[in-house]
């Protein structure tokens, strides 16, 4: 009896100890990050400001994870899960611990859109195209209002941590199901964590869109891969399709009623997706169609249903967007080179350090895709073709047929990377029993941590939000009458977090010429505004200065050229300044 108690104790003491070590390392890393100096963030981003202790804790946490993963007698999911959650908190929570304001101006803008629905109970599709897909904003507004908050700003800081944790749950189920190996699933998740540098997990519709996409794919691959095809109507015997033998684990066996309920759930997920984000439902259509074509999905009508729902929402729910913008939607169809140039070519510019950072990002992205490709080929050669993972990893590339703006390739990477990581993991697991392979995998994972911090937070010098900048915008709102024209020289400004629809938010009419210091562009800041009686204010901040200098072509030292021109003679009167922000009232001379 006593021996039994001791052995039972021993079975939970070791995992509990390992979990406690992970928790201790996370706390240590978070404390270290909070002692970092925000002022040290330079052209290489957050990596310059995070103290060495932070990286030490992240490294030890990685080792703790891999020691457990490589255990011969089966890893303990609680230990792996604790280390994984800890790593998410460390890597995605680091800016939240270090910086005094939530990062990323676009997230502040989305907080403003949320506030619009919270305050007025309606969206404003004519003010901004993003209001045509208000699912995320209205849901966030509901959570904000029900939680007694007056603004969504408090949600911004920890949104990336929550979003990444939400990604990992369906991704684990997908990995377990498609690789058939718990080790490969955990390794794939870890790889995705350190490879996912694109930063699409902030307070934004695409982050929740990605969660919904992964949830739908998880349900499809867990319940609907094998067996006869399920159609809406019976088909003649000679045309009846049979699914290929699926790789990984077989489908979970469930009864007819639960299967019908799951199909209803898939349609509900699709409905939510169509209302939330323009691109994510298209990814679901492509992903599910790829599964059907590769005979890995019994629901052969699901891609069509998802497509009809997507088109239905665009036709009815997003009318203000497409009326008058058909050229924007269909004009880029087939121009693949334009897509690549928009997303890649135009980004390799700016200062030398910034250019080298962009190249590292491109190489990092290319390395993932190359490794995934090699893994797929090797698995195929060993007669273990990972067809489902390959189909899901390739499907997002089909969106290159449509020009989705400068972030098109980022989105392709986001939707393809999880499955690429699982492919690599499945390949690595083949040789994982060898000690040498284990050492290489753990070493590579350790080396990837600083690479992740560099690529993910390399733009932090202008993507961080400085308290003085927020203070300046609050002053601007207090002095500018509603309806005024508010002008920002570049996009990097944390505004519209309040009064998102009460002012006209603009850029200089000739933004490039303005930054080059063209006197004509400076003197006619906004051309001929719609309301000629409205006041006009120009805001310039440190983040804008750094963004223009580091990231925009031909804009190094732009503020040095422009500042001397912002004089009363040219129509500019300085009405407010602090060390990081200047506000000018402008009246055309």
């Amino acid at each position: 009896m006593q021996r039994g108690v001791f052995s039972a104790t021993a079975t939970w003491v070791r995992p509990a100890l390992r979990c406690a070590i992970s928790l201790g390392l996370v706390v240590g890393g978070c404390v270290a990050a909070s002692h970092g100096d925000q002022g040290q963030i330079g052209q290489r981003g957050l990596i310059q400001a995070l103290p060495p202790v932070f990286f030490g804790c992240a490294g030890l946490l990685t080792l703790n994870f891999f020691v457990e993963l490589f255990r011969g007698r089966g890893p303990n999911p609680w230990v792996l899960g604790t280390a994984m959650i800890g790593m998410v908190v460390l890597l995605h929570g680091a800016p939240g611990f270090l910086e005094s304001e939530p990062r990323f101006p676009t997230a502040w803008l989305h907080a403003g859109f949320t506030g619009q629905i919270l305050d007025h109970g309606v969206s404003a599709p004519k003010v901004d195209a993003r209001f045509n897909w208000p699912g995320f904003f209205s849901s966030a507004a509901a959570a904000t209002g029900a939680g007694g908050l007056t603004s969504a700003l408090p949600l911004l800081r920890w949104a990336p941590v929550v979003m990444v944790l939400l990604y990992l749950l369906p991704l684990h189920v997908i990995g377990r199901q498609l690789t058939g190996s718990s080790t490969a699933a955990w390794l794939g998740l870890w790889l995705f964590l350190v490879f996912n540098w694109v930063g699409q997990d902030y307070f934004a519709p695409q982050s929740i869109g990605f969660v919904l996409y992964l949830l739908a794919i998880a349900i499809l691959v867990t319940f609907f891969r094998g067996g006869p095809q399920l159609r809406l109507w019976p088909r003649k015997a000679w045309a009846r399709g049979q699914q290929a033998e699926p790789e990984g684990l077989p489908d979970l066996a469930v009864g007819r009623r639960l299967r019908v309920a799951l199909i209803a759930l898939l349609i509900l997920l699709c409905a939510a997706l169509t209302m939330t984000h323009p691109l994510s439902p298209i990814m679901l259509v492509l992903g599910s169609a790829a599964l059907v074509v590769s005979r890995r999905c019994r629901l052969v009508m699901f891609p069509a249903i998802a497509g009809i729902m997507t088109l239905g929402w665009i036709s009815i729910g997003a009318t203000p967007y497409w009326v008058g913008h058909l050229d924007t939607i269909f004009g880029g169809v087939g121009h693949v080179s334009a897509v690549v140039n928009n997303s890649v070519g135009e980004r390799v510019t700016g200062s030398k350090i910034h250019e080298s950072l962009v190249r590292v990002r491109l190489e990092y992205t290319g390395a993932l895709w190359a490794l995934a490709g090699v893994s797929a080929v090797v698995l195929w050669a060993r007669r273990q073709p990972a067809v489902t993972l390959m189909a899901l990893a390739i499907a997002p590339f089909l969106t290159m047929a449509q020009n989705y703006g400068s972030e098109g390739v980022l989105r392709i990477f986001l939707f393809s990377a999880p499955f690429g990581c699982l492919l690599i993991a499945q390949f690595v697991v083949l040789g994982l029993r060898a000690r040498f392979v284990q050492v290489v995998v753990a070493g590579a994972s350790l080396a990837l941590i600083p690479v992740f911090v560099l690529t993910r937070y390399g733009n932090e010098s202008f993507e961080q939000v400085r308290p003085n900048e927020v203070e300046a915008i609050r002053v601007l709102y207090s002095m500018a009458p509603p309806g005024s024209n508010l002008v920002s020289a570049t996009s990097q400004l944390p505004w519209r977090f309040d009064f998102a629809t009460d002012y006209t938010y603009l850029r200089p009419t000739e933004a490039r010429a303005f930054r080059r210091g063209s006197l004509t562009a400076v003197r006619s800041l906004v051309g001929h505004p719609r309301d000629s009686n409205a006041k006009t204010y120009l805001v310039i901040t440190t983040s804008q200065r750094l963004y223009g200098g580091q990231s925009l072509k031909g804009s190094a030292q732009w503020l040095r050229r422009v500042r001397p021109l912002l004089t009363p003679y040219n129509g500019y009167h300085l009405v407010y300044s602090n060390p990081d922000a200047w506000i000018y009232e402008f009246e055309a001379p």
């Binding site: 849901s139 867990t222 469930v254 009623r257």
Partner: protein, 133 residues
């Protein structure tokens, strides 16, 4: 040690009264109370309740219906799959409820909370007998 054994026996007896596939009643009751309390708290004015109210609202709206669904599914499929299905039900319920009220132009935070609460209660009270006998 004797006390612990007695406690274990009591718990064992209490558990044995519940059929294998049916979740304990106290969990049902707890989720029902949580739904009701969340809907009521959503009526309170801004600022009342502080951080606990904010955290509860976010957790309830994001995971409330999922918790109800998870109770029904927990013995039918493995835990990670239950969690995935539950999350896959919770988030769309929030988005679609919120969107529905927005389209009808009757959107309000407590309206959305009440709707999500109703779905949660529905998933609890409507017998979840999806599995064929």
């Amino acid at each position: 040690m004797t006390g612990l054994n007695q406690w274990r026996t009591l718990v064992g007896r209490a558990s044995s009264r519940v059929p294998a596939n049916r979740p304990p009643r106290w969990l049902h009751a707890a989720i029902l109370c949580w739904s009701g309390a969340s809907a009521v708290v959503a009526f309170l004015p801004h600022g009342a309740g502080g951080v606990p109210r904010a955290v509860n609202a976010i957790v309830f709206l994001m995971f409330g219906p999922g918790c109800a669904l998870a109770l029904g599914l927990r013995r039918r499929v493995p835990f990670p799959v239950v969690a995935t299905i539950s999350l896959g039900a919770s988030l769309p319920v929030l988005v679609v409820s919120s969107q529905l009220l927005l389209i009808l132009r009757i959107w309000s935070p407590w309206g959305v909370t009440a709707l999500v609460g109703l779905v949660t209660v529905g998933l609890l009270l409507v017998p979840v007998r999806l599995e064929e006998s």
